[in-house]
């Protein structure tokens, strides 16, 4: 019946590749280890492609489903399936993994096999999160994917990595446990851990609110939403480049995705009831965090704050309950995946050469690295939401949708046009323009072929989605229609029951 194992392959190919790298790789065989990891990453990417090409865009429900018993005693299934929201995110994940492996090529010199394996395994686990339709399976993926991330930051991270990992751990643990409680409650209600069944369970408003808040704690930390965001800048600053890339490009989206998979459809009435607060938090993220980004002195911190601000558009788009807003939010997630990845890679390019993330250590980089500067300005413009790049599409859609919701919400959201450009381009000015600031800058060498390839592919994707975003919205159309229909149907127990 279920002859299609695309999703299982998407999850297990990278994980097995990771284990293989771990077993066969070694620092004394560095080159072989790297190539093996790259092959694993590419294989992992290739097996996800059928999800795009065989996806039925007219169908709003779950496709590529697989289900077998896992722990029969507790009705726990190995149940996978994807819809128009998860497919783009899965492709983003497997693609980002390839980029991460290339980004770490010559940079990581110690414990290469372990490092590469972390990314491959993490990739499979994150794809597991995006495709699990059983809540316990989801929970297992959700928690286990943190382990490789802890390792990446904790072992290959910067000076203050212990503080950063503990903070990361404290935040996520707090949220995840409440989510588990919600799952167990829902199990008692439905006798199942099936997520699709959760969507149809009737719940009174006060219970919905509790469930919503339990999920909110888990997902808002991941996205992150203000005021649960302070772990992110620290984690980014301490993480190695590829770690930041995965964190920004994929991990933050797990939170956004999970809102759409759990919190909102399970508690639609609570979502409507609390939407005012959610919009307020999103707007705080957009405006407040943009102002905070403006005064950062560390490039990675600046980009981390910029990520939080951009993710504000994702949550804002969700809680407008309009198709334009919802699809805008999804496009924003994908676009941010490319742009933030590219921005962190750009910082990595500089850090590998100068070993500093401080803006003040730079100045006039364009003199010695003109090709790199062109990429950096391009991605900075994309980050500022320039039309023609993917960064514009999501923000444009969400801002237009929010005008329909309330003019003043749109007014605050649209300030990103000013502040987003301010913090990004001011950083570009201080880092890239001017005379070469010091001897180290004057001695910089332009991009290597490897770096050029990474940034070039990301630039092409950023431009491609900006010029033809229908690639994404074509996939999300049916699913988001279905989702919004679901959201408008109240799940409160009717009086007659």
């Amino acid at each position: 019946m279920l002859a299609n194992y695309t999703l299982s392959l998407s999850i297990w190919v990278p994980i097995l590749a990771g284990l293989l790298v771990l077993a066969a790789g070694n620092d004394s065989r560095a080159s072989m280890t790297r190539w093996l990891a790259l092959l694993g990453g590419i294989a992992g990417f290739l097996v996800t492609l059928p999800l795009y090409f065989q996806f039925n865009i007219a169908e709003g429900g779950f496709q590529f489903q697989e289900a077998t018993y896992w722990i029969p005693a507790f009705q726990i299934y190995y149940h996978l399936g994807v819809d128009g929201i998860s497919v783009p995110l899965i492709l983003l994940t497997s693609f980002t993994t390839v980029i991460c492996i290339i980004a770490s090529w010559e940079v990581i010199k110690k414990s290469i096999a372990q490092y590469m394996a972390c990314f491959l395994i993490m990739s499979g686990l994150m794809i597991g999160v995006f495709s699990a339709l059983d809540s316990i399976l989801y929970y297992v993926f959700w928690e286990s994917m943190l382990i490789p991330m802890f390792l990446v930051i904790g072992k290959w991270g910067g000076q203050n990595r212990v503080y950063a990992t503990i903070k990361f751990f404290l935040y996520t643990l707090l949220g995840s446990l409440l989510m588990l409680v919600a799952f167990i409650y829902l199990f008692h209600k439905t006798g199942s851990f099936n997520i699709v069944k959760y969507h149809d369970v009737v719940l009174p408003l006060n219970v919905q609110i509790f469930i919503f808040i339990a999920f909110f704690m888990a997902f808002a930390v991941k996205i992150p939403m203000w005021p649960l965001h302070t772990w992110l800048p620290d984690a980014h600053v301490e993480a190695p480049t590829a770690g930041s890339v995965v964190l920004a490009a994929v991990m933050l989206k797990l939170g956004g995705y999970s809102f759409l998979r759990f919190a909102m459809p399970i508690a639609p009435d609570a979502s409507h009831y609390l939407s005012g607060y959610m919009i307020a938090l999103s707007l705080i993220a957009i405006l407040y965090i943009a102002l905070v980004a403006l005064v950062q002195k560390d490039m990675k911190k600046l980009i981390a704050y910029s990520s939080i601000s951009h993710m504000g558009f994702v949550t804002l788009g969700f809680f407008l309950f309009s198709q334009l807003g919802l699809e805008g939010a999804i496009v924003q997630m994908i676009s941010h995946g490319f742009i933030s990845a590219a921005m962190f890679l750009c910082v990595g390019v500089l850090y590998d050469r100068m070993h500093s993330r401080e803006i003040a250590s730079y100045g006039g980089v364009a003199n010695t690295m003109p090709v790199f500067a062109a990429f950096a300005v391009f991605f900075a413009m994309a980050n500022s939401g320039l039309p023609g790049t993917s960064g514009f599409v999501g923000e444009f859609m969400v801002i237009l949708a929010s005008v329909e919701y309330d003019f003043w919400v749109a007014f605050i959201a649209a300030t990103t046009l000013i502040f987003g450009a301010s913090y990004t381009l001011w950083m570009v000015k201080r880092v890239f323009y001017g005379e070469a600031a010091n001897k180290k800058v004057a001695a910089l060498k332009d991009l290597t072929r490897r770096e050029f390839a990474m940034l070039g592919v990301l630039a092409a994707l950023t431009l491609g989605i900006g010029v033809y975003p229908q690639v994404i919205t074509g996939m999300t159309q049916a699913t988001s229609e279905r989702f919004l229909n679901h959201m408008t149907t109240s799940k409160l127990p009717s009086v007659g029951m």
């Binding site: 514009f392 003019f407 381009l425 229609e481």
Partner: protein
């Protein structure tokens, strides 16, 4: 036939820009200019063909491809070709081609030669996308894309601190305008359900009485709010007070782009946009009053600043601001066709003036200070004559292009009856005198009088390191034909285009069906047409009549006074500056806009950002809550640690109690 060619008009410059931009460093220098000139030249030829077709009634409005759909909302990329578009296409590609040719000479020695050509071709693409758009989304794309290229070109010499300050400022100030623009587009989409021009315009009249409540349930007219927001976008791009502050600083960019982007084309995008949106603006007289008042303030007060400048490019920049104000006033008077007419004539003579200034700057070895110039007519014959033509056109000398457009604006404002038109009329009339004064101040100082560089020290006061200047014993040389040819080719339309075009454009059917005017509410244009047909009859009649009008008297006295001040008695202006030092200070500080923005907006944002970060993020969230929790856990664990006694029987006892409790609990659930 023509329809299939349309796509190539923006595409040719884009392809050229992409090739030169990506592979420029590996191609020979001549490839950079030949490829881009071919691209832009091809676009010009095609645009001219389209223009010819539109004259015989060709119009086109179709989508090229669907950009995205979301629910019922459909965004597309497509072209709307009518007379307005076709005229803009010809102006843009013509000026662009002139600038391309000129650049061969101007950027001859620059290491960024191919990068520069790539940028200006990219600009031509973006500007064409803007004017050819048939919907708001693509308009916004072109709008921001020209802003991007402007940013790149102002900061072209990216090692200069002033240039990279100016380009950031330009981008951010434009973003303030775009902020309003985007909200306006949002209102359009919300209330009409579409961003396609045709659909929006047909839905707009039904919304005339719709109100929205923005503050405390006070009803606001939807169209007024929408139009003002859209116009805020125009204020950014077309540099209207108070969003004008970026344009003078943009002169840090190479002179060819000052001509192309910051005089002839990009800065007029706002004027074009409002004219395109005439079916919306006509619904709201309040919005038109707002437009007219802003335009009048810009026309008058920015002109005054032109008098104070000593940098040759900045004088022309303030003149551009003032002329953009004139166009905006015309828009406010519902004389959209007149605004577009002035946009066209201005594009030619202002591009000419900038390129002339560039020729002088090259000859003076990149000294831009007019106090070091003088008697250049001897060394720059072609530049001298063409600049004189440009200046005469600018001040509105009868028979020159600028006369027809500017005089029509003044007359239109006279006939306008909307609130603010009285002040606007004063502003545009007074502006004539000011324009004549600063234009000929510049002209006399630069081309006549003593050869001041013979005495001047080349490196004085605020010289940047890129100002080289002549040594006293050097003679300046006029650059070669690649520079002179565009000057001559631009001088021709600066003389004749007004005479040729006024009758069809303003009083004929040229803009019929393109520009909508509610003649009952805003009859200025109707009066103007009537006046022309009744009293003036022909363009020559208008010009001859022009000699006996107040504006001509004012222009002539402006020229006369500048001749007296700067040729006869140069001691008088200095004395006036001393005598009226307060006014002098205000003008020198450009009314204080820059320092206010710097202190209030720039420092204010940083201040708030720092406080939010240091106090809320670091102290409260991280310090009190996150680390506080961690500390609490540490303290609690200090207490709990005592339970970890290391004695096996303690643990065994705890286990038994635990197992007992669990079993009891589960039994309850199960049973």
């Amino acid at each position: 036939m023509t329809e299939q060619l349309l796509i190539w008009i923006p595409l040719l410059p884009l392809i050229a820009a992409a090739i030169v931009g990506l592979f420029g460093s590996r191609l020979p220098r001549c490839a950079a200019h030949w490829l881009t000139i071919l691209g832009v030249g091809g676009a010009l030829v095609l645009s001219a063909m389209v223009f010819k077709a539109t004259l015989s009634g060709f119009t086109h409005n179709a989508d090229l491809y669907t950009w995205l759909t979301s629910g019922d909302i459909h965004f597309a990329v497509g072209f709307l070709i009518d007379n307005l578009t076709a005229m803009m296409m010809v102006v843009v590609t013509f000026v662009s081609l002139m600038v391309h040719i000129y650049t061969i000479g101007y950027m001859h020695e620059d290491p960024g030669y191919s990068r520069f050509f790539s940028y200006i071709s990219l600009f031509t693409f973006a500007m064409l996308m803007l004017v050819m758009s048939n919907n708001f989304m693509q308009l916004f794309f072109g709008w921001e894309a020209v802003g991007l290229v402007s940013y790149l070109l102002i900061g072209f010499w990216y090692t200069r601190p002033t240039a990279i300050y100016a380009n950031l400022k330009a981008f951010l100030v434009n973003r303030v305008g775009d902020f309003g623009f985007l909200l306006g587009i949002g209102l359009v989409l919300t209330y009409t359900g579409s961003l396609d021009y045709a659909e929006v315009f047909s839905a707009a009249p039904a919304l005339a009485d719709t109100t929205i409540s923005l503050f405390a349930n006070t009803p606001w007219s939807l169209m007024t709010v929408t139009c003002i927001l859209l116009f805020v976008g125009a204020m950014g791009k077309s540099a209207q007070v108070p969003l004008h502050v970026w344009l003078p600083d943009s002169m840090e960019g190479p002179t060819p782009i000052s001509a192309l982007i910051h005089a002839a084309t990009m800065v007029t995008a706002g004027i074009f946009m409002v004219a395109r949106m005439s079916p919306l603006f006509e619904i709201s007289t309040t919005a038109l009053s707002f437009v007219m008042t802003i335009g009048a303030i810009t026309a008058l007060f920015m002109g005054l600043l032109g008098i104070m400048q000593n940098d040759i490019k900045r004088v022309i920049a303030y003149s551009t601001l003032s002329q953009l104000g004139y166009m905006t006033v015309a828009l406010g008077a519902s004389a959209y066709s007149v605004a577009i007419f002035h946009l066209m004539t201005h594009a030619f003579f202002k591009a000419l003036l900038f390129l002339g200034a560039g020729s002088v700057i090259m000859g003076m070895h990149h000294d831009q200070d007019i106090r070091n110039m003088g008697n250049l007519k001897k060394y720059f014959p072609v530049t001298w004559i063409t600049s004189l033509i440009g200046s005469l056109a600018l001040i509105g000398t009868p028979f020159f292009a600028g006369f027809y457009s500017k005089d029509s604006i003044i007359e239109a404002v006279k006939f306008s009856q909307i609130p603010g038109s009285g002040f606007a009329y004063f502003a545009v009339v007074a502006g004539v005198f000011i324009t004549a004064f600063y234009s000929f101040r510049l002209y006399f100082i630069v081309f006549h009088g003593k050869e001041r560089w013979r005495k001047a020290k080349p490196h004085t006061d605020d010289d940047h390191e890129h100002h080289h200047g002549l040594t006293p014993d050097q003679d300046p040389h006029e650059p070669g034909w690649v520079v002179k040819l565009p000057l001559i080719l631009l001088a021709i339309p600066s003389v004749v285009i007004g005479y040729l075009a006024i009758k069809p454009m303003l009083f004929g059917d040229f803009f019929k069906g393109v520009i909508t005017v509610n003649a009952e509410a805003h009859p200025a244009m109707e009066h103007l047409t009537h006046h022309f047909h009744e009293f003036l009859h022909t363009p020559s009649g208008m010009a001859l009549h022009g000699f006996f009008t107040l504006p001509f008297a004012l222009a002539a006295s402006g020229v006369g006074l500048s001749w007296f001040f700067y040729m006869k008695r140069p001691d008088i202006p200095a004395a006036i500056q001393k005598r009226f030092s307060l006014i002098n200070t205000i003008l020198e500080n450009k009314y204080g806009f820059d320092s206010f923005n710097e202190r209030f907006f720039a420092s204010g944002s940083s201040f708030i950002g720092n406080k939010l970060w240091q106090i809320v993020d670091v102290k409260i969230i991280d310090g009190a809550i996150v680390n506080g929790t961690a500390n609490l856990v540490a303290k609690l664990s200090g207490i709990v640690r005592r339970l970890q006694s290391g004695m096996i029987y303690h643990y065994a006892f705890a286990m038994i109690i635990g197992a007992f409790l669990l079993l009891t609990f589960f039994n309850r659930i199960v049973l």
